[in-house]
Symmetry: C2
Subunit: 372 residues, 2 copies
């Protein structure tokens, strides 16, 4: 996407806001350190831009999900620690070593694969260990830890630098599972050699000091998603998404709009067709549910979202403002990622990771300085 004049939609990512969010968490959890989760291309916002900005601000540990994400990130971050959450798929251990990536070892199968593929002893490459404390998704459960304890030579072959676990319900401050998982984490980590511990992702950063341990791992909160649902969002908003009007239609008689004729325009109004659709990650579930903001006025999304287009009723906006080429705010100062997610029936995380490739993207730093 080379030229903003070609694009039907514009996505602006405020790197300064991401850095400010990282610093806010760092102040809140000190002396614990703060890693940055930049998996899934920094939640769709561009790991190649986001990670260097955070490294410049002092972040020393970055977290991705997959080997290929780690390899790509190593190209732009020569020095920092890069953890790979999914760990090695069989046969890929050598690639982790070649790119100085720290695998998170989640199972006996991964740890034995790692131990037998890499050099033992003090020169062994670093790894992290993942204890499952209640997600039942990835990580050693108690039975696996027992089996690992029975084979101390396996653990001797790896050089673990971090033990981590993951909370299932950290976005519900009062959920009893938080304290249960914390207690289980302390209990199970005690069976391993002493090393730094990490339990909290975005939500966990806001559950209080006892959840911070040595390292916290925010992702969503860095990108402006509220880590404390139901309470005011402490994070700065990070992105602005704007869609360009292609055409405005005067409607003076009753008619329907879009596929399936699902929306009925009753009276005189104007319908603006905007050049973005579900192929851009503007979810189809926003049909007849979502809205935009144009000239300070809330404009409802009418009809179904098409693959490349969405229609908005702009009858309340002056025609000089609602004209071809004008930009409708879809995510921004007046409508957060979380707001759009609520209208789409999902969570802000999915709104971010679904952001499409056709948006013209620009990254801004400081007071409007741009780095396209």
């Amino acid at each position: 996407m080379t030229d903003p004049s070609h694009a039907g939609s514009l996505l602006t990512v405020d790197l300064s806001a991401i850095v400010a969010n990282w610093r806010l968490i760092a102040q809140g959890v000190a002396p614990a350190k703060v890693a940055a989760v930049v998996k899934a291309d920094a939640y769709g916002l561009g790991a190649a831009q986001v990670a260097p900005a955070l490294a410049a601000a002092g972040c020393e540990t970055f977290i991705v999900a997959t080997l290929d994400e780690g390899i790509a990130l190593r190209q732009v971050l020569p020095a920092p620690v890069i953890l790979v959450l999914n760990g090695p798929l069989p046969g890929t251990e050598g690639e982790f070593v070649a790119h100085s990536l720290v695998p998170v070892l989640n199972s006996l199968s991964q740890i034995t694969g790692w131990a037998t593929s890499t050099k033992a002893g003090s020169g062994a490459p670093a790894a992290a260990l993942h204890i499952d404390t209640g997600m039942n998704r990835l990580g050693f459960d108690e039975a696996e830890l027992d089996r690992l304890a029975a084979r101390p030579e396996v653990l001797a072959w790896v050089r673990p630098i971090l033990t981590l676990s993951h909370l299932a319900c950290a976005d519900s401050r009062d959920h009893p599972m938080n304290a249960e998982q914390r207690a289980r984490f302390v209990h199970l980590a005690g069976r391993l050699p002493a090393m730094p511990l990490s339990l909290a992702a975005s939500g966990g950063c806001f559950l209080g000091r006892t959840y911070h341990f040595d390292l916290v791992r925010p992702g969503a909160a860095l990108y402006g998603i509220n880590p404390t649902p139901g309470r005011p969002n402490p994070m700065a908003q990070v992105i602005r998404l704007q869609g360009k009007i292609l055409q405005v239609r005067d409607v003076d008689s009753p008619r329907t709009v879009g596929y399936g004729a699902s929306y009925h325009v009753a009276g005189p109004s104007r319908i603006a067709t905007v050049a973005l659709g579900y192929a851009d990650g503007w979810f189809r579930s926003l049909g007849n549910q979502g809205h935009g903001v144009l000239g300070g006025v809330k404009v409802p999304l009418v009809g179904r979202v098409s693959m490349d287009l969405a229609c908005f009723d702009v009858g309340a906006v002056p025609p000089a403002v609602a004209c071809p080429g004008a930009l409708v705010d879809l995510i921004g100062p007046e409508q957060s990622v979380d707001d759009v997610a609520a209208e789409a029936g999902t969570i802000g995380y999915e709104i971010l990771t679904a952001l499409g490739r056709r948006h013209h993207r620009r990254w801004i730093t400081g007071a409007g300085e741009t780095a396209a």
Copy 2:
């Protein structure tokens, strides 16, 4: 995505099936011609691979949504006609001419912009005209056609080669709007100079001969989506999506799985964690709704879909089959794109366009020959 061993999920696109689907439609609509809609990166399946395969099969007209899609497609298709549905955004007319792209002119604003930016007369670059017959999304409505008719010099400045419109309800064979839109199309097209006409997209190809006119424009049907919902799918399946198992957990006591502890495992079973999630376009709405197929056995998706992971209950599959590294079929012979869409609460189109960038992609032609 360079190496399949690195990837948590594999996406296979059968170019032969796409060509077979195009030929099936061509036989059904002859003597009408068949354009191929390859917008949104050929519905997520790779326009740079799909379009040349169809051109080799005889397709002479390709359709994209945006200028940048047209420019990219021109790199791989030097000769064919390329139509750009959204038409020119203000100031981009020269780019259309430079890349020999045919804009679809949707409004008076676009047609006057085009006429004043390009050379008039018989040497003028070709354009298409879009008449709105009931979508109320893009295209000239009757009032705009009247205004256009009052300014014959504008139309004289463009060289229209096609008039098109779009059906709102073509996937409902018996919807009265189909015949209404067809009649309106004939009526309104009669106000323009005689030229080839096009009304049918995928659904319209199957509404009968009177809907075919001179050119049909299938997209979804080429990619295996059923153009006749409620009746057997006449199209060949095109894609296979497989997720790799990272870890299998024996569960012998009651517990919950994943974020929000939304799934309760009651009895002894095994849970497989697969390396794909909603950041890969495996919709979060599939949580506790979707399923995969492993070793011929249907395996339910349990718990919420995470950003990079999804869990399946593989208790009914032998442990030797449900093991780390094994591939769970998510879309394929036993579960179509439309099936997954139904479980996710959307349509197959959105499942395709959401397919993520982390899948290892390969395109096959003929009997297993691969073109990675």
